[in-house]
């Protein structure tokens, strides 16, 4: 007898669902935190506004997803408890998003690699059997389409701009490419969620991501970077050194004044 959709969802235990939602939530949160720091310092006013918009969307996604994670966990932690009162090793974001803003090329490359992934993820998650997650994904996917248009547009412009912009964007791709395998290589939890009908099939995400990124690199006259072995497993809490600093700043007030309302 085949299981119904509800049975399949039920097969994924709350701890697994919590972990999986945290991966999505923390990825949006940390990416948003990084971009938000650029507001007022972008290369032109239009880019200030665009980066601010994207940061705002990402923080919005993080809030919805963290609240959902808190409900799944059912231990009374709300979005702020999860964002501000966990240590780095409890964060489940992919390591790519915690990398520093660097120059505009590095910011754009990081965002572009992420946007291609989030766009495919949320496209698929919009049909998730976890209906609460599907709801959030349906909203997020619209935002991600705009984010991708912005970052891919800039990747092409920088690749096909001046000698300097091409050199900078190549260098950023070389620096950040080693974090892309984590996006595309499924672990046990990704595979489980796919089987349960909650998450997408990882092979599908990999193929679509590669197609999307390959076409954009080609349009900007940029080569597909050489493969680099990946060592970072942010999805299971093994982060680069950067995350600790980011959190020290982000969490300073709630940690210094515990238990109050802001």
């Amino acid at each position: 007898m085949s299981a119904t959709a509800d049975d399949l969802t039920a097969q994924a235990g709350p701890q697994e669902r919590f972990e999986y939602v945290l991966r999505l939530a923390d990825t949006s949160l940390i990416a948003g935190q990084r971009l938000a720091a650029l507001l007022g310092h972008a290369p032109a006013l239009e880019e200030d506004l665009a980066l601010g918009n994207i940061a705002l969307d990402l923080i919005g996604q993080a809030r919805l997803l963290l609240a959902l994670a808190g409900r799944i966990e059912a231990r009374g932690r709300d979005e702020d408890a999860l964002a501000f009162l966990r240590d780095a090793q409890e964060f489940r974001n992919v390591s790519l998003v915690e990398q520093p803003n660097g120059d505009f090329a590095q910011t754009i490359v990081r965002q572009c690699l992420l946007d291609a992934w989030q766009l495919e993820m949320y496209e698929s998650l919009a049909g998730s059997r976890d209906l609460q997650l599907a709801d959030i994904a349906q909203k997020a996917v619209k935002e991600c389409r705009y984010h991708w248009r912005f970052s891919a547009g800039w990747l092409v412009r920088l690749g096909d701009g001046t000698d300097e912009s091409r050199a900078r964007v190549r260098s950023a791709l070389d620096t950040l490419w080693r974090f892309t395998d984590e996006l595309l290589t499924p672990d046990v939890l990704d595979a489980r969620m796919a089987v349960c009908g909650i998450g997408p099939a990882p092979v599908l995400i990999r193929e679509r991501w590669q197609t999307r990124v390959r076409a954009t690199l080609a349009e900007g006259g940029l080569e597909w970077p050489r493969h680099q072995h990946y060592r970072w497993h942010g999805k299971r809490g093994e982060h680069t050194e950067h995350l600790g600093h980011l959190l020290a700043e982000m969490q300073a007030l709630p940690r210094a004044y515990p238990g109050v309302t802001w």
Binding site: L39, P43, F104, R157, G161, L253
Partner: protein, 331 residues
């Protein structure tokens, strides 16, 4: 956000323009008609507006910095989202205002070059540091509150593009003011440490906020011409008094004390009477010697310099793909 240098020198109003044209122009203003970009206007009117709108635009852009200082440290995700949206609104205000100035024949690139060269003014208030989270509340409550006092009358300014930009800006500013007050209220009703934070912010921001309205009328020589042209509708002191009258009861509601021992209600005038303002401090900040003048301009210059290759790349790309893509101005 607003600049106190409202009374931009109008120079010698229209010496080179024919008297009949000037009369017709003034008659249109007196009939409350809007002056539009293609209409004839006295050169002094144009220059006064350019200076005022540019100062206002620069204030929005520089004003992103003190508040941006707390985006990465906002204490809840809701506060973070609201602060990002607010700082982004200010960037948007800067953009409309630069566009309004462009209708008077000056480009955004020229105006930004003046700012970065230290030749343009922006509101003195942004040369003060944001030292605690409560400063974000105080800026919204006091600085945006003062800005609204200044800006509401500008929605009826005689120059059409400026007046229309101000309508939208004022709507957003009133949201900013409310969120600032709400931060202060939360802190004032919070723990002892939070209340102390709020009180300290009010202590530091009160006087600089009063100075945002500019020098006292006794020392403001340019008001009359700006009033005649309906660029300006109320004097600095009138607006400052209105702000004090509205804000003092709000401070009482918050249970915070205004740092002015001489402040009292005057039954005869039906106004709050403040103690004397230390104008030497305003002069110091306007001269470029305030606490953060150096940091603010350096931050703008650093962003401009770091972004130069990006703007050049966008321009080069647009050049190669002319007609197919939108490119940025590589100024």
């Amino acid at each position: 956000m607003y600049t106190q240098a409202l009374d931009s020198p109008a120079e010698s109003a229209g010496t080179s323009d024919e008297p009949e044209r000037l009369e017709r122009f003034q008659a249109r203003i007196d009939r409350d008609e809007k002056i539009e970009p293609k209409d004839w206007m006295p050169e002094a009117y144009r220059q006064a507006l350019i200076r005022q709108i540019a100062q206002h635009a620069h204030s929005e852009i520089v004003g992103m910095l003190p508040e941006g200082n707390w985006i990465t440290r906002a204490p809840s995700l809701r506060r973070k989202a609201v602060l990002i949206a607010k700082v982004q609104d200010e960037g948007g205000h800067g953009m409309y205002l630069y566009s309004a100035a462009e209708t008077l024949g000056v480009s955004r690139g020229q105006l930004i070059a003046q700012l970065l060269a230290g030749r343009a003014k922006y509101s003195s208030i942004f040369n003060y540091p944001t030292l605690s989270w409560a400063d974000i509340g105080a800026i919204g409550w006091l600085v945006d509150g003062a800005a609204i006092m200044n800006q509401i009358p500008l929605c009826r300014c005689s120059y059409g593009p400026y007046a229309r930009a101000m309508v939208r800006i004022c709507k957003e500013e009133s949201f900013h003011q409310r969120q600032g007050f709400e931060i202060m209220l939360t802190l004032a009703r919070g723990s002892d440490a939070q209340r102390a934070m709020a009180q300290d912010a009010l202590r530091r921001w009160w006087w600089p906020s009063l100075m945002m309205f500019g020098p006292s009328d006794a020392h403001s020589v340019h008001t009359a011409q700006s009033m005649r042209w309906k660029i300006k509708r109320f004097s600095n002191d009138e607006l400052r008094q209105r702000f004090i009258d509205v804000t003092v009861p709000q401070a009482e509601f918050l249970g915070l004390s205004v740092p002015d021992p001489a402040l009292h209600w005057d039954e005869a005038t039906r106004h709050y009477q403040p103690g004397p303002i230390d104008w030497s401090e305003l002069q110091t900040v306007l001269k470029g010697e305030g606490p953060c003048n150096h940091e603010r301009l350096e931050a703008r210059r650093a962003a401009h310099e770091a972004g130069r290759w990006v703007r050049e790349a966008a321009a080069a790309y647009a050049q190669k793909h002319r007609g197919l893509e939108h490119g940025a101005d590589a100024s």
